[in-house]
């Protein structure tokens, strides 16, 4: 399933917005999600060979293989978590705390997503 850029942005906004509704953080996750949707393709293209760079390629363990997918996922997790914490704190007054919280969240997010993805791969086989 491939999505046009407009739909990708819409889904990104809606998923972020729903998270915001439930966690009383209006705008924080929706803004992070749409920015993540914008950097999705450049990040993905950076980790795959030139020949594979077609519009249809979807990032997943099955499509990219472990090494490329792990790099893609880690980059995206780091970008997302730093965005969320920077927007939420809304100042660089406490850089140390932002860095600690964002990095530990990135590791957790990366681990969880990789776990979910590996489950889906074994199901398909």
């Amino acid at each position: 399933m491939t999505l046009s850029t407009n739909w990708l942005l819409t889904w990104a906004f809606l998923s972020g917005f729903i998270v915001d509704l439930f966690s009383d953080t209006p705008g924080v996750n929706s803004l992070s999600c749409i920015l993540l949707a914008v950097v999705k393709r450049p990040v993905l293209y950076a980790y795959i060979p030139k020949d594979d760079r077609t519009k249809d390629i979807q990032p997943s363990l099955a499509n990219l293989g472990f090494a490329a997918y792990a790099k893609y996922l880690l980059t995206m997790s780091v970008i997302y978590c730093f965005m969320v914490f920077i927007i939420e704190y809304f100042s660089f007054g406490d850089v140390k705390e932002i860095v600690i919280m964002a990095s530990s969240s990135s590791v957790l997010t990366f681990g969880l997503l990789l776990g979910i993805d590996s489950l889906m791969v074994t199901k398909r086989d």
């Binding site: 705008g27 929706s30 749409i34």
Partner: protein, 274 residues
């Protein structure tokens, strides 16, 4: 195609930024919070399940609290008996128990990891909850009602960097301002205590009663240490908060029958001064 994508991006980005900015004007964002009917009912379902996990520790706290209260009731009964003998005339002023009423509520959503934390309770306008009312749990103060829906309310947690509470050292009249500075959900800070105030480590901090939100004497925490303060004539105390915000489950919302009266007096004052 690429151009339209940028327009869509700009559109969503503007909406997000607006949410981010107007989100600070809490009253206007009533329907975009956890006090909303849809989010509220989802949280209610979830908390009915997770509520069981903290029952043991809460029960232990309640037993301890109960014992303490029974002691206090006995003491007060004795005192009352003595006073009855002294004063047969019953022109007593209205007491605290008459002035303040409590509404029990369950916490259905709670956060302690953000710099600005909120929690959601399952009582709203139809139960008489209004914005600005104080919220306590069995250990001490918990927060202030912020946004009310018909059946749910969102409460500004004590663990919110933007919220300050008027407190004092128990047994004295030294007033300070309680705030939370992020990080550890068990640690708070009392600022602006006058330098000549005397205190000991382990002293209890209670609410000052200088607002209509909380009656006087509700526990807030215990003094851990003194920390450096920017101003020489005041100092700051680091305190251990009485309530455990990670296992908040049942709270009481405080209704003050004089609230509208006192608030309108304050408004009247402001009008005169302008």
């Amino acid at each position: 195609m690429r151009y339209s994508a940028w327009f869509v991006f700009a559109f969503y980005a503007i909406i997000s930024v607006l949410l981010l900015v107007t989100g600070n004007n809490y009253q206007r964002s009533v329907y975009l919070t956890s006090a909303n009917i849809v989010t509220g009912s989802v949280y209610k379902g979830a908390s009915q399940i997770t509520g069981y996990f903290h029952l043991k520790s809460i029960n232990r706290d309640l037993e301890a609290n109960n014992a303490l209260l029974q002691n206090e009731v006995l003491n007060l009964k004795n005192q009352l008996a003595q006073y009855r003998v002294l004063a047969s005339d019953s022109l007593l002023p209205i007491t605290y128990s008459d002035r303040f009423g409590y509404v029990a509520a369950a916490v259905i959503n709670n956060n302690t990891s953000h710099p600005k934390n909120f929690f959601t309770i399952d009582k709203g306008q139809q139960d008489g909850i209004k914005s600005g009312m104080g919220v306590v749990d069995h250990n001490g103060i918990a927060g202030i009602v912020n946004v009310t829906g018909p059946h749910m309310s969102r409460v500004i947690s004590l663990l919110n960097e933007t919220q300050h509470f008027s407190v004092k050292l128990k047994g004295t009249e030294f007033i300070g301002s309680l705030c939370w500075k992020g990080g550890d959900p068990t640690i708070g800070y009392v600022e602006e205590i006058p330098r000549h105030a005397e205190y000991n480590i382990g002293d209890t901090i209670v609410t000052s009663g200088y607002s209509t939100t909380f009656p006087e004497g509700i526990p807030v925490g215990k003094v851990l240490s003194r920390v450096k303060s920017g101003d020489d004539s005041f100092f700051t105390l680091k305190i251990k908060l009485a309530s455990d915000f990670r296992s908040l489950s049942t709270v009481r919302v405080i209704k003050d029958i004089y609230k509208t009266e006192i608030d309108s007096l304050a408004e009247f004052d402001e009008l005169k001064l302008d």
